[in-house]
Amino acid sequence: MIASLLIALIGGIVDLDSTATWQFMISQPIVAAPLTGLFLGNLYGEAAMGLKLGLMVGVILQLLWIEQLPLGMNVPPDAALASVLSVALGFIAGHSYETYSEREVCYTVALLLSVALGLLGRSLDMFVRRLNTGVDNWVNQKIEDNQFWAISLGHTLGGFFTFTKAFIFCFLIVWFGVEPLKYFTQTISLKHSSGFIVVQGLLPAVGFAVLASMCLKEKTELKYFVAAIMFFTVLPAKIWLGISAALIVMYKTRPRKKK
C-alpha cells in the first residue's frame, strides 16, 4: 500500500515534467528509472539494488522512443510512466524471490510489460489534452467577461489533470499488477528463466537500432559507422576511449566561423 502510493506520487511528479511543466527532463527514463529505484529501494532497505535496476531499465528504455518527438500534434509514448512502472513492478515483484534468476525474470517481464503501458499512457495523455480543450473554452468565456483570474485557474487545472492521471494510473497498475507478475514468474521453470537474462542482455540493441536509424542520414556515414564499430570491437572496452574518440571527432567537425 505504501509502496503503491509512493510510486503513484513519483509517477505523478515525473509525468508533470514530461510535457506539462519545467521540462528539466527528470521524465527521461535514464533519470526517472534510477530515481524510482532509489526511493523504492530505500523503502525496502535495498537502495543500491533499486538503483542498479533503475539504471538497467533506464538504459533500455531511454533510446526506445527517442525518435518520437513532441512536435505539434504528435503525442509521444509516455516514457516517464513506462520507466517508473517498469522499475516499480519489477522491484516489488522480484523482491519476494531469493534467487538471482527469478528476480531477473521479474525485471525483464516488467520491462516488456511497461513498454505496452507506455503506449497506453499516450492514450491517457490524449484524453487529458481533450479535457484541457474544454477548460480552454471555459477560460475563453471568462476572459470575455473580464474575469482574468480564470487564466491562472484554468492553467493550473491543466497541470492538475496531468498529475491526477499519472497518479491514478500508477497506483492502479502497481496495486493490481504485482500479483499477476509474481504468478507469471512462478509458472516459468528455472531452466527457461535464465533465457530471460539473455533477453535482457539483448534488449539494448533495439534502442541502439532506433537511434542509429535516426542519426544515420547518408551512405558514407554508414560506412564510417560500421568501421567505427569494428574499431571499437577490437579495442579494449574502456569508457574513456569512447568518450575521447567522440570528442576528437566533434572537435574535427566543429562549426567553423564564416569569414
Binding site: R129, L202, F208, T253
Partner: protein, 269 residues
C-alpha cells in the same frame, strides 16, 4: 502608458518572472489553442505592467488568447519579442496586426530551431553520453544527465527573454549567429561515435562454443569479436525494422522470441 521611447516599461525582475512562468507553458496543452493559455499565463505580468487601463488590458489578453505552439525552451524568446512589441503598441507606434504576424512567424522559426536542436540532436547526444556511464554502473549518471542537459536549456530560457525584449524583431538575426545546423550535424557525429562504442560493448551476446573450442589465451578476444558481430547484426536487423516503420514494441517482442529460441537451441547463453 506614455513614456519616452528610450525608457522601457518592464524591469529585469518582471522579465525573470515571465521566464519562470514559462516553465509552466504546456500545463494546459489542448487541441484548440495548444499552448495559448500557457503563453497568456506567462506573459500576463508583463501585460499588466504595460497596460494600466482595464479595457486596453482586456484587449491585450484577448489578442494573445490564440493559437500558439513552439518549442518550450525557445518560447521565452517569443515572449520577449511580444512584450517589446506590446510596449510599442501601447505607445501607438505599431498596429496590433504586426504583433499577430510577428508572433506567428517567430513561433514557427523558434519551433524549427528549438525542436531540431533540443529534441533531435541535444537530447540523443546527452542520452547516449550518459548511457555510457550507466552501463559502467556509475550511480551518479542521472545527475550527470540532468546537469549536462539543462545547461543550454536554462541558458536559452533565461537569456532568450532578454534577447527578445532588447532586440525586438531583430532577434532572429542574432539567433542565426549560433549556426544551429552545423551544431546539430556536429552533435549527430558525436552521437554516432558514442553509439559505435556502445554497440559492441554493451549488448551481451555470449555463445558457449567459444568456451569449448577456443584456446584460453584467445578466449577474451574471441568473445569480444563474437559480441561485436552479433550486436552489429542485431542492430542492423533492428534498423531495417525501424526503417520499415515497424513498431518498437513489436521489434522488442520479436527480439525476445528470437533470443528465447536461440537460448533453447543452446546457441546463446
Amino acid at each position: 502608458m506614455n513614456s519616452s521611447p528610450n525608457k522601457r516599461a518592464l524591469t529585469k525582475a518582471t522579465l525573470i518572472k515571465v521566464a519562470f512562468r514559462s516553465f509552466f507553458l504546456q500545463a494546459s496543452w489542448n487541441y484548440r489553442g495548444m499552448m495559448s493559455m500557457g503563453f497568456l499565463y506567462a506573459i500576463s505580468p508583463g501585460l499588466d505592467k504595460i497596460y494600466d487601463d482595464i479595457n486596453a488590458r482586456e484587449n491585450a489578453y484577448m489578442r494573445h488568447f490564440e493559437y500558439f505552439n513552439t518549442n518550450p525552451y525557445f518560447a521565452s524568446v517569443v515572449m520577449g519579442v511580444v512584450l517589446a512589441l506590446e510596449e510599442r503598441l501601447s505607445r501607438g507606434e505599431i498596429s496590433d496586426e504586426v504583433i499577430h504576424d510577428t508572433k506567428e512567424g517567430l513561433m514557427t522559426a523558434c519551433a524549427a530551431i528549438g525542436d531540431g536542436l533540443f529534441w533531435d540532436s541535444w537530447r540523443p547526444f546527452v542520452a547516449v553520453a550518459s548511457l555510457i556511464f550507466a552501463s559502467g554502473n556509475y550511480m551518479l549518471t542521472p545527475l550527470f544527465f540532468l546537469i549536462l542537459y539543462n545547461i543550454p536549456h536554462l541558458y536559452f530560457r533565461f537569456a532568450g527573454i532578454f534577447w527578445g525584449y532588447v532586440e525586438g524583431t531583430h532577434v532572429i538575426r542574432s539567433l542565426k549567429k549560433f549556426q544551429f545546423p552545423q551544431i546539430r550535424q556536429n552533435l549527430r557525429y558525436g552521437t554516432l561515435v558514442l553509439l559505435a562504442y556502445m554497440i559492441p560493448n554493451h549488448v551481451n551476446v555470449h555463445t558457449p562454443f567459444l568456451l569449448t573450442n577456443l584456446p584460453m589465451e584467445f578466449f577474451y578476444f574471441g568473445e569480444k569479436v563474437v559480441q561485436g558481430i552479433g550486436a552489429t547484426l542485431l542492430v542492423a536487423l533492428g534498423m531495417i525494422g525501424c526503417r520499415a516503420r515497424v513498431d518498437v514494441l513489436l521489434i522488442s517482442f520479436l527480439l525476445m522470441i528470437l533470443a528465447l529460441v536461440l537460448y533453447h537451441w543452446g546457441i546463446l547463453i
